[in-house]
Structures are given as structure tokens and as C-alpha cells.
């Protein structure tokens, strides 16, 4: 794996940490990573990402802290895209932002699906309880 592009993260290694300031986004070249959020003091896996998927873009777009922790599940290889390179290039070529928009749209659709699913579960639980 040492001849290939990117940086290698070992199993369990934290790639980004929730609450930290970020200045780059990541694209997984190989492997799988878990997206973890702390809810009421407990880590909850909210998503799993695979090769070709992008993460860490929100900190770049909004210039805020990381919203989740991403942790390698098995060996992961990822490349980073600097905020400066990305923003400068978007300035010259706004169409570059379309790829990130596509990712965000895809994510919103998935979240909509998840919310609908959870609401249904909640309602059926309530209904069962009556």
C-alpha cells in the first residue's frame, strides 16, 4: 500500500475529530471509515463511508469545526484537498463546486430517508404502546 496515493490510516485511527478546526476535506481511496457523533456523551456511528466518498467538506465550506469524528475501520487510505487550493480554484471555476453540491444533495436525500424511517419507527412504537 505504500506506493499509492494518499496517506494510510490504521484500523481505529482517528482521521478527523469532532470539534476540531479543519482546513481540508478528504476522499477515501481505499477502505471503510465510520462517521461518529457524540450524543449525550456516547459515541454513535451515524454513517459509514467507502472508497470514492468525500468527507470533511462542511468545515471547508462553512469554515467551522468538524461536525463528526471519522475513524478508520480497517486500513484506510485517503487523500486530502486543501481549503486554499479548493477555494481558489472555485473562484476561477465555479463548476468545481458542483461535485461537492452533488455529494451534499446525496447526503440530504439519505438524511431525509433516515428521518422518515425513524419517524415511522417512532410512530409505530407509540401506536404499539397504546
Amino acid at each position: 500500500m505504500n506506493e499509492e496515493l494518499g496517506r494510510v490510516y490504521q484500523d481505529g485511527e482517528i482521521i478527523i475529530t469532532e470539534g476540531e478546526v479543519g482546513d481540508c476535506m478528504y476522499i477515501i481511496q481505499q477502505g471503510t471509515a465510520d462517521v461518529i457523533r457524540m450524543e449525550e456523551g456516547r459515541p454513535t456511528v451515524v454513517d459509514t463511508m467507502e472508497a470514492g466518498e468525500l468527507f470533511g467538506e462542511m468545515a471547508i465550506v462553512e469554515n467551522t469545526v468538524r461536525s463528526s469524528t471519522v475513524k478508520a475501520r480497517g486500513t484506510v487510505r485517503a487523500i486530502t484537498i486543501d481549503r486554499k487550493t479548493f477555494m481558489r480554484r472555485i473562484q476561477e471555476d465555479p463548476s468545481l463546486a458542483m461535485s461537492v453540491l452533488e455529494v451534499l444533495c446525496h447526503r440530504v436525500r439519505n438524511l431525509d430517508g433516515n428521518i422518515a424511517h425513524l419517524k415511522q419507527q417512532l410512530e409505530s412504537q407509540r401506536g404499539g404502546g397504546v
Binding site: N2, E3, E4, L5, G6, R7, I27, Q29, Q30, G52, I79, T80, I81, D82, T85, F86, R89, E92, D93, S95, L96, M98, S99, V100
Partner: protein, 502 residues
């Protein structure tokens, strides 16, 4: 030491034994007729678009021909097809590329050193083009700069391999590497996935029929298109033929470079070069830049200069700094070599109604990051065609500014390379540069001012303007002056004092 390089670059028109007929080319002879043309073979559904000032805007059923399936042609095709899909326009796009990128050696190669720069790897990834492992022959994470006064390694700050060493074709002659996918082959596959058609035919001329561009194939067939995109690189006879039409286009001025492959074996490559690109600032006449690039079992040598010939190649390979990079201090016989051309100026007026020149055929970055220039010009042209139109005016307003930016940066690049050349010539300057870089790489907490300048000059990652501005910073200048004095007074550097970077 080096083979006598008499292998001519095979030109598409010579390869099939078909001589291009200059009289067949009448490009740009009657621009007014192109606007109003209603030739056969295309969609001809040119309903005026509110955003296109000349009524030339792609609509459903239009046909686009891309001449050349290198990075410029394939990236243009992919960007155009994806943007049109978002808009909801359906066109036919044919990429004409006779070369089979699955052949080893010159037959399947587009003749280039094969380095995808740090910034381009990132931009491609952001655009959804993630280079697969079978295409990347080696991820590069550092540069080693060799001079007669010493060598220094410059590491990327992130411990990440962000520069890709690739083969443009299927590897060197007789390499028989079944597991690899050449860079050009991968991009062509991506373009086809986006909806383009690959047509393995050679285009021998571009003509006009009732106002529509018409391409002539090597077998004599003629086909009409609404737009022709010339991405045939510099080694095509097509550019010369277009130039003769006297309609404003003139091809870029070129220089020769030298590219050769040496087989060392993976273990020896790892031992001698690792994941570092080795660059040389040697005081050899006419040599602008030389690098050794590790790739799997092989090492690629790239030499750029104003007069690269056999004598210069031999002198370079006999230099002690170069021999040290090979097992037993001796470069083996190379197994594959070519003398590709590279742009030293830009094309004049690389556009007209229904025709646009992209990549090396139009404008490319001076000496560096030719694939990056192909990406930039391809994207600018695709956005212009998809969103505004393909008239001369559209290209002038929405495509040429991207080219002009490269042209302007190249003018600054000439100054930057002039200074590099001066450093190559002056021993005291080389000592100063080496010392300052060593201080930054091996000393604790020293801002990497010289390292970042050298990194960006070698990798081509940043515009030359940015590189020049960094060298004009007072801290850079004062530190350089101090290191020039210290190095020539033989004061020990951080490296020699045994200091290690924190």
C-alpha cells in the same frame, strides 16, 4: 551510455501510411458561412439561445467531434457531457483517437514524463476523478534536489503522497505489465462512461461543408459536425495544416524534450529513489530541468531545455550526481525513449466559430504541469460551449480568459526559470540555496520559505506569479542573503550540525 535515439515520434498521418493533403484543409476560410450553415450530418437544431450572442449554442441532437483522446480531449468530453446532462441537453460526442493506449512503448503512449501534480490530483478528485491504484505507478511525497554542492530532500508537510507518477500509455516498450491502466486509457474510459463515443480513427483534415465543420478520416470518409475541438497535442500534422489557412490561428512554438525509461526492478527503485522525485540543478549548457521519476519497476528520465541532444543526454547521465541515483553508480541502458515536443509559447487565436483548440494545441504551462494545463483549458472550453455557446465571440469572452491567465503566468515563469538557470550557473548561489533549504528541512521551527518555492517550481503546483511573490518577501530575501554569506564562509548548516526537524 545512452542509446542513439533515432526512434521518430510516430505521427498519426504517417502511421497509417496516409499522407495528409493540405488542399483538403480549408478551415476558417469563410467564418460568416459557418454561422448560417445548414450542412448535413449534424443535428442542425441551432435554435438561438438567449445566452448565446451568435445563436451558436448546443441543443439536442447536435454533434461534437473531439480530435485527440489525450487528457485535454477526454477531460473536455467528460466535463461537457456531465454539464449538458445537468442542463438536460443530449448531444452526440465522438472522440477520434487512433492510438491504442493498451500497447506498450511509443505505439500506445502520448510521450510525456507522466507526473500528475499535487494540485491537479486534488482538483481531479474534487471533480470526481479519483485516480485508481492501477493507474498510479507511484505516489510521490518528496523531492530530492541534487546539485554539485550537495543534495537535499524536501518533504511534503502532510506526510501524504499527493503527486502521482503515471504512464501515459501502457508502460515502456516490452514491459508487458498486465496489471496497469495508463492515465490516458483511464481518462478515455471515464469520458466514454460520461456518454462520449470513442472512435479509433485518424483525422487527417478539418474542412467545412455548408458552414459546418467537416472532418476527413484516414480512410477518406468525411463527417459533418456542429463543433470541432482540436486536442491533438503538438505532435500532429493537423496543426500545421490549420495554420496554413491564414485565418488567425498559429500553433505554439515548440522545443524538444527527452524522455527515457530505465528498468531497475521494484526493489532497486525503492532503495535508490523511494517515493521521491529526484531533480537536478546541474551546470550543463542548454539544460533547463531534469528529473528522475520512480514508477514501479522503472525510472523515467525527463530532460527539458532549449537544445536537448545526444551530447547533453550523455553529459547528464555521466554526471556524478545522476550516477549516484542508480545501482552501482551506473545508469543502465534505457529501454524506451522519445523526443516529445513541448510548448514554449502559446497558440495565437486558438478559437473561431465552431472550432476550438485546447491543451497543448492551444495554451500550456511553461515547462511544467502540461496535464494541468490540459485540465484547465478543457474545463474552460467545456463550460463555455455548454453554458454560453461555440461562436468565436463566445470563446473570446468565456474561454480565452482562462488561456490568457496561463499565458500571463508563463511570462512570469520565464523570469522564475531565468533565476533557476542563474542558480545552476553560479556555484556560490547553489551553496546558498542548498544551505537555506537544509536549514528549513533539518532545523527546528524554521518556516519553509525556500522549500516551498522549490517545491512549487519543481511540482508545478502553484502559479509562477505566486512563486515569484514569495521570493520577493523581505524575510525570504534577507534569509537568502544570510545563507549565501554563511554557505560561502563555510559555516555549518543545521544538517551538518546534526539537528533534526521536530
Amino acid at each position: 551510455m545512452v542509446q542513439k535515439y533515432n526512434n521518430k515520434i510516430s505521427r498519426p498521418d504517417e502511421k497509417d501510411g496516409n499522407k495528409v493533403q493540405p488542399e483538403a484543409v480549408r478551415i476558417l476560410t469563410d467564418p460568416d458561412s459557418w454561422r448560417t450553415g445548414t450542412g448535413s450530418g449534424s443535428g442542425h437544431n441551432n435554435a438561438p439561445d438567449p445566452h448565446s450572442t451568435d445563436g451558436l449554442c448546443l441543443t439536442d441532437g447536435n454533434r461534437v467531434a473531439v480530435v485527440g483522446g489525450g487528457p485535454a480531449g477526454t477531460l473536455f468530453s467528460r466535463f461537457l457531457m456531465r454539464t449538458l446532462r445537468r442542463i438536460g441537453t443530449h448531444i452526440e460526442l465522438d472522440i477520434f483517437e487512433p492510438r491504442n493506449f493498451n500497447y506498450c512503448g511509443p505505439a500506445g503512449c502520448n510521450h510525456c514524463g507522466g507526473v500528475v501534480s499535487e494540485s491537479l490530483v486534488q482538483l481531479l478528485a474534487a471533480d470526481g476523478i479519483i485516480l485508481p491504484d492501477e493507474t498510479v505507478q507511484r505516489g510521490i511525497d518528496s523531492y530530492v534536489m541534487h546539485m554539485d554542492v550537495g543534495s537535499v530532500r524536501i518533504d511534503t508537510p502532510l506526510q501524504e503522497k499527493r503527486i502521482a507518477a503515471v504512464y501515459r500509455g501502457h508502460g515502456p516498450k516490452k514491459s508487458e505489465q498486465s496489471h496497469i491502466t495508463g492515465f490516458d486509457h483511464y481518462l478515455l474510459r471515464e469520458a466514454v462512461r460520461a456518454g462520449a463515443h470513442h472512435r479509433p480513427h485518424m483525422v487527417t483534415s478539418v474542412d467545412f461543408d455548408s458552414g459546418h465543420p467537416q472532418i476527413k478520416l484516414a480512410d477518406g470518409r468525411k463527417e459533418s459536425y456542429d463543433l470541432v475541438v482540436v486536442a491533438s497535442g503538438l505532435n500532429s500534422a493537423l496543426l500545421g495544416l490549420v495554420e496554413q489557412t491564414g485565418r488567425g490561428f498559429s500553433r505554439p512554438q515548440m522545443a524538444k524534450s527527452f524522455v527515457a525509461e530505465f528498468k531497475l526492478g521494484a526493489a532497486a527503485v525503492e532503495r535508490h529513489l523511494g517515493s521521491s522525485m529526484n531533480v537536478f540543478l546541474l551546470d550543463l549548457p542548454h539544460l533547463q530541468f531534469a528529473a528522475l521519476i520512480p514508477k514501479g519497476d522503472y525510472v523515467t528520465l525527463v530532460m527539458l531545455g532549449d537544445k536537448v541532444d545526444e551530447g547533453l543526454v550523455n553529459a547528464f547521465l555521466n554526471a556524478e550526481e545522476v550516477r549516484r541515483c542508480f545501482p552501482d553508480n551506473r545508469p543502465p541502458q534505457n529501454i524506451c525513449q522519445c523526443l516529445p515536443r513541448l510548448n514554449v509559447t502559446h497558440a495565437r487565436k486558438p478559437y473561431a466559430d465552431r472550432v476550438v483548440f485546447i491543451g497543448d494545441s492551444g495554451v500550456a504551462r511553461l515547462y511544467k504541469d502540461g496535464i494541468g494545463s490540459a485540465y484547465r483549458t478543457a474545463k474552460a472550453a467545456a463550460n463555455c460551449v455548454a453554458l454560453y455557446g461555440y461562436s468565436e465571440r463566445n470563446f473570446k469572452e468565456h474561454y480565452w480568459p482562462a488561456c490568457r491567465k496561463i499565458v500571463f503566468d508563463n511570462m512570469i515563469g520565464k523570469c522564475v526559470f531565468g533565476v533557476c538557470h542563474l542558480i545552476q550557473r553560479l556555484t556560490f548561489a547553489r551553496r546558498g540555496v542548498l544551505r537555506m533549504t537544509e536549514q528549513e528541512q533539518y532545523g527546528a521551527g524554521v518556516a519553509p520559505r525556500m522549500s516551498s518555492v522549490l517545491w512549487d517550481v519543481f511540482t508545478g503546483s502553484a502559479p509562477y506569479r505566486e512563486v515569484l511573490l514569495r521570493t520577493l518577501h523581505p524575510v525570504f530575501i534577507s534569509r537568502l542573503l544570510w545563507n549565501l554569506a554563511a554557505a560561502n564562509l563555510r559555516l555549518p548548516s543545521a544538517r551538518k550540525r546534526g539537528v533534526t526537524a521536530s
